[in-house]
Symmetry: C2
Amino acid sequence: MKIYIIGIGLIGGSMAMDLKTIIEGIEVFGIDSNKKHANQALEKGIIDRIGTLDNVAEADRVILSIPVKESLALLPKLLDQLHSDALLWDVGSTKEQLCELIANHSKRDQFLAAHPIAGTEFSGPQAAHRDLFNGKPQILCESNKTRPDLLTWAKQTFREMGMYLRFMEAAEHDKHMAYVSHLSHISSFMLGKTVLEKEEDENNIFDLAGSGFESTVRLAKSSPEMWTPIFEQNKENVIEILDAYIKNLEHFKKLLVNDDYKSLFREMKNTNQLTSILNGISKK
Amino acid sequence: MKIYIIGIGLIGGSMAMDLKTIIEGIEVFGIDSNKKHANQALEKGIIDRIGTLDNVAEADRVILSIPVKESLALLPKLLDQLHSDALLWDVGSTKEQLCELIANHSKRDQFLAAHPIAGTEFSGPQAAHRDLFNGKPQILCESNKTRPDLLTWAKQTFREMGMYLRFMEAAEHDKHMAYVSHLSHISSFMLGKTVLEKEEDENNIFDLAGSGFESTVRLAKSSPEMWTPIFEQNKENVIEILDAYIKNLEHFKKLLVNDDYKSLFREMKNTNQLTSILNGISKK
């Protein structure tokens, strides 16, 4: 079986590494616009060869793991080339526009919209590692539009990677992701920006900050190359949740200005209920 | 040497545990308005006996580790009782009002305002453990107002706990803490609130959220009992930094509304410089 990985970063690279242990006789071709990354992936044994987009017709499976905006440009052309038993899945963080784009493509049923929730603030093939997906959710969107035999293969393969599967519509996926992922990134980036602006002496941040600060701004290390197009693709949902967040911060400020500490206490107490949910996440 | 710990939570309890390994012949008395906590501390061996506030005169060292508002009420009365060679230090997260309150107390020089940056989202004596302070900063405020022999003892003791010392004025301390700690807590609490409000089905949060969400809302588990008075004490500084944060979020939103992805990219790229600072923190 020939696998093409287009974009050999944390997700694509880690997926290739897992596939090599699951599928016998697999041959992995890697394509990356960043030549350094492609060579690193080769040296690290993530891929067996460097491939080219012109030869995608020989691929049995294709993983599309590049920034979402580039996927939009590339996906239709890739589908055009697929042989009749090939399956292509993407791993992007937004799905609605991508699914709409190829809704009427003649090979729509050879595509599967997948989103493994396994990203970290690190990127590139050096960050890739085996078992990244073990115990993590894999969201499959509009999976009823994928050809049953190909879908069955994919579901089984993802489960062998240790993932548990969730199914939803593309629009629903994008909305939830705005809530539980995209907002966290904005919150983190802007928190980092605010503190950098205020703390003229960066040594103070280093010396005085504890693990709490570190935890809330961790995502501010994330790649702008990846996140700019995610925010663009999911603009409407992101603005909606960002508005709600700003409103809640304004409300918190108002309580503080008014010395209404009873309400301030209640705000925090009510939010403490997240604890049980979070304990569930950290066990994943 | 008799040590009194007033408030046997994460910080007070952990400090008692360290002191027991550092000071020979130490006898630790614990006082806590929560009887369950006092008994847990006794069972866990954090304290040797349960003490009473009436007997503080017999203490050689007193650690005041209760919510900052209660410290304000209690500190002058405790100082009144101290014998002439006793030292009392607090471990609270705000310092300006406390230092002002006892500025003219006849035993001002037997007090040391200390802030170990070692809190977590957990609280209570069950969370206490040895070595919590190892490698962490201890901020000492207005230490020139503490009697030199008592200050020397305290500095040596904190260093034996593995802490590195930083010295600053109380007002300066409170400002920095608003930046690198208090804002993170508000950001986290309100992020948690926003997502809880939007995600009607809590299972979605559990299923779809990754480690990024977990990291940014971790502090929303924190104790409202502890944090309400911190925000009250540090109201001015907190409002100032919260305003700056909201402004930055509004700006981010505006860029998104205007489809100005070039600037959005730059915002994130500039904030990436936190990476090196954060790598420093996580090595602490």
